[in-house]
Structure formats: C-alpha cells, structure tokens
Amino acid sequence: MLNLLLSRLATAIPSIVGVVIVTFMLTRLLPGDPAAYFAGLAASPQAIAEIRTKLGLDKSLPEQFVGYIGDLLQGNLGNSLSTGQPVVAEIATRLPASAELTLFALIVAVAIAIPLGVLAAVKQGTWIDHLCRIVTTAGVSLPVFFTGLLFAYVFYYLLQWAPAPTGRLDVFMSPPTHITGFYLIDSALTGNLETLWGALRQLALPAISMAIFSLAPLARMTRGSMLAVLGSDFIRTARASGLSPRTVIFTYAFRNAVLPVITTLGMVFSFLLGANVLVETVFAWPGIGLYAVNALITSDYAPVQGFVLTMAILYVALNLAIDFVYGLVDPRVRLDS
C-alpha cells in the first residue's frame, strides 16, 4: 500500500516541476515590463528602475527562478494590487466555495452519467441509447456560461423556483459556523437546516450547469466500457449459469466496467475546473474563479498567476488521487506496482 502511494507520488513530481516552470515563464519570460506596469503610467525611468531592483527583475533568469521557488516554498504568491492583501490568503479563503461547487457538480455529473451510460449499454440501440448519445453530444456543445444564464432566466426570473443568482447564500441569511468552509457540510453539522436548504438552493443551478457540461466523457466511457465487458466470455458464462440479470449487470459487469471510467475522471476534472471559472462569473459565486476574473479585469496579475498555479497544483493532486483510487479498486494494478 505504501509502495503504491510512493510510486504514484513519484509520477506526480515531473508534473509539478513542469507546472512551476510554466507558471514562472508566464510571469517573467513574456513580453511587457512588469516594473513599468507596477510603477504606473506617470512613473519616471528612475522610479521604474527602482521598482525593477525591488522586484528582483534586474537579476538573471536562473536567479529569478531560484527566488520564485523560494517564494513558493514560503507560500508567498505576492500581493494583490487592488486589495493589497497577500494572494495566498485571499485564495485560501475563497477556495472552499469553489471546491464545494466543483465537488457537488461532480457528484451530480456522476449520478446522471453512470446510470445513463449503463442503461444505454444494457439497452443498446433503444431510445435510451439514443438519449445518451444526444445528451452527451449536446452536453459538450453547450457553452457552460450560456447554460448557466439560461437556467438563471428560466428558474429564477420566469418560474421563481431558484433564488437570485448571486453568491452562496441569500443576503438575509448568515453563513454557518466555519468548520470545513463547505456551507452544506457546516450547516448540516451545526444542525442549521434553514441554512442548509438555502445553501443547497443557491448551489443547485451552478452545479447542474457544470455537471451537464462535464458528464459527456463519463457517460460515453461508461457506455463503451459496459458494452465491452458485456460482450466478454465471463459474462456469457455468468448468464449461462443462470444468474439473475441484475447480478450479472451490477456485480459482474459494472464492477469491471467502472475501471476505465475512473481514469476519465481526470478529463472530467479538467472540464470542471475550467467551467468553474465561467460558472462562478455567471452566478457571482465568491470562489477563486471569480476572484481571478475580477483580477483580470483590473489587470491585477499576481492573483491571476496565483490562481493558475493553485488550479494546476489542485489538478495534479486530483489526478494523483484518481490514480491512487484506481490502484485501490483494481487489484491487478496493485500487483504490478
């Protein structure tokens, strides 16, 4: 078990190194003079030179890279220009909002995609198979910001089922006591059902918009891998031995078919983390995506760089976790390592 964990960790190291180098390049190597930018439009050449020295931009690139690594190791991503606060602290306070939205969207996507894929494979060629194909093709074609807006219009403006698309909680409600930062979990833990319901209502539309966008790879892969497994010899044997269709499908087929589905979760997360930015913008969700978009508008680069790095590291960590879960679920992988 420990060996498996260590070997997976070792595969993540090149990714992390790559991510750090790319984010460094995004900050330093590209055209434009950050010193002139930080100094403002009316700055004298002397002031610009001073700021350049202060920021360490007069040093050679390898030296700057070492400095950058040093900053990263101390958890220093610079300060936001518009608020003056350290970027790390601002991202840390906003991260739970994004994480709650993304994970909830993932749960919704899995809850729709896997039954749909299994049904499409079991009843291949019937209407449910066609429905699966339509949903997956339409799902990846829908711009997630557009679905979000459409939902807001239909469910908030027309039907008034959903609350106003502005943030994690209604303005008249106070957030639950901070335990995990996830409103759903915190309000459930403190037994505050009213807040739980309020948070769930705010969460529903953005999460569903994200889920629709990202369920296609899951549903397609579930269908494909179920079809492959259902056609194999051991399923024929199981059927011939007189096992009930339910046992054959769920115990024999599904448990084998789910393995390739786990590997597509990486791609699903790539979709979700990207969609997260757009959905947060539409629903004024106070997460790191909205934070980065607001910083982009005011040309405040440190938060944007911090955001890209945080997202990339999260993504590498998620891929690592997926790899690890795969190893736990599939005993064959465990033996190989």
Binding site: I21, V140, P143, F146, S270, L273, V308, V316
Partner: protein, 281 residues
C-alpha cells in the same frame, strides 16, 4: 476519389444527422463569408431610441442596451469566431503534427522532449492555462488564437506520434529511404501525408472545442473587446440583463454559439466515420 465519395454518400445515408451538420456548416460558412453584406443593420451603429427592444419583424433578434440590432451582430460575429477557431486549430495542427511526427519517427530524445512538453500542458486544467497565457501575453485576439492552439497541441502531438510510430518501419518508408531520400524528406513527404486523414479528423473534432474555448475567454473579458461583435462577449453583455428579463440579448448569440459547436462536433464524428470507420463508436 470516387470510392471515397461513394463511401461518403453511404455514410451520409446511414446517418442523416451528419448531412444536417454539413448543411449547418454551409450556413455558417456563408455567414462568415458574406455576413457583413447580408446584415440588415450596421452591427456597431447604436440607436438610443430603439434600446432593449424584444424581437420584432424589423429586428428579428431584438436590440441590445445601445439599440444595436442583435441579428446583424450575431451574423457579423460569425467571421471573427470562426476565424479565431480555424486559425488556432491550424496552428495547433502545425505545431502538434510536426513535432508529433518527428517524435514518433525519430524516437529517443525528440520523443522525450515532445512527450514531456505535452504532459506539462496536460497537467493544467486546459481552460485555466488558456486564461493564464492570454493574461500573460496581453489582451489581444491573436493571443486567444495562440492560447487555444497551445492547449490543443498535446492532442495533435499524441495522435501524430502514435501514427508516425506505427509507420516508422513500414515498407513504403523503407523504400523511400532506400531510394536515397533524406530523413526530413521521408518524414515530410512520405510519413506526414499518410497520417493526414487522421489529422483532419482530429482537426474537425477539436474545432468545436476551440470555438467554445475562445468564446469562454471573451466571455470573461479576455481578447475580443467591445464594441466588437463576438458571440462570447455578446452573451456577457446580455448576462447583465437576464435578471431583469431581457432574455434575447444573451439568448441569440448564445444559441448561435451552441449551434456552431454542435455542428462542428457532429461534423467531426461524421468525418471520422467517413475517413476512418475503425474509430466509430
């Protein structure tokens, strides 16, 4: 050529949806080529007296907050959106196919460097990386093209690498080498043309994603700037009016965008069926 056409007709008759996608594609092409001529109004001309009017006979898609005709803007935006997507797909193809073919053909260090580069790009959530690239390079349309090309690069490089690797020791490659062709000539004149059909499928499959990505970037205010007509930015402008019930400002550009992406995704699937039936799912 004739058998391919016959096969194409067969696939189209099997799958009428692909035919529909081809029809839609033709419409988008016409809009992209002749949009500015066909548009009934000047897409940039504001008219305060006509602001925020719902769809009518005079303004099919209604007017926006400045009284501009949304139908004209959606029509004219087609050229910009499709140009961004085409340019980025072609750039991704050139970068990805060349380096991928070289990696698959030569192996060794070339392979390792290209592979590591692709892995590094894939280590990012792709849209987030595109955001970072546009933010760093500067807020210009050309940088949206570059960013979209970079995030699509690994897909092309991997497919090209796998296909070139299979053909590395094929008979026709050996023959080309024995007739005295240099490595570069074998690579570009013999290996690359043979993987072109698969690369074409890849291009049409990523086209929809490229449109979506570019529109997403301009939705959050990157690249295309107002008052330019572009679908993503028009949806962003309309977003401010959704809560007060003016649905048409965001709906029409958004629906057009969706239709374009849908069309290219179907087209990609159809093209794949025509060119490479083995990949059919």
């Amino acid at each position: 050529m004739l058998p391919l056409l016959r096969h194409a007709r067969y696939v189209l008759s099997e799958n009428p949806v692909t035919g529909l996608a081809f029809g839609l594609f033709a419409l988008f092409l016409i809009a992209a080529l002749f949009g500015p001529v066909l548009a009934p109004y000047n897409p940039l001309q504001s008219n305060a007296a006509m602001a925020l009017k719902p769809p009518s006979a005079a303004h099919w898609f209604g007017t926006d907050q400045l009284g501009r005709d949304i139908f004209s803007r959606v029509l004219v935006a087609t050229r910009l959106d499709l140009t961004i997507a085409f340019a980025s797909v072609i750039l991704a193809f050139m970068l990805g196919a060349l380096s991928g073919v070289a990696a698959g053909y030569f192996g060794g260090w070339t392979d390792r460097i290209v592979g590591r580069l692709a892995d590094t790009i894939m280590a990012f959530p792709l849209f987030v990386l595109a955001m970072g690239i546009v933010a760093a390079l500067g807020n210009e349309v050309i940088n949206i093209v570059i960013a979209t090309a970079i995030i699509n690069f690994p897909l092309y490089a991997r497919v090209a690498r796998a296909e070139a690797n299979v053909r590395r020791d094929a008979g026709f490659v050996e023959a080309a080498r024995l007739s005295g062709n240099g490595e570069a000539r074998v690579l570009l004149g013999h290996v690359l043309p043979n993987i072109m059909p698969i690369m074409m499928v890849q291009m049409s499959l990523t086209m929809g994603y490229a449109i979506l990505n570019a529109a997403g970037l301009s939705f959050i205010g990157l690249g295309v700037r107002p008052p330019a007509a572009e679908w993503g930015i028009m949806v962003a402008e309309g977003a401010n009016f959704i809560q007060s019930g003016e649905w048409w400002i965001a709906l029409f550009p958004g629906a057009t965008l969706m239709l374009a992406v849908f069309c290219f995704n179907l087209l990609g699937d159809g093209l794949r069926d025509i060119i490479d039936p083995r990949m059919r799912t």
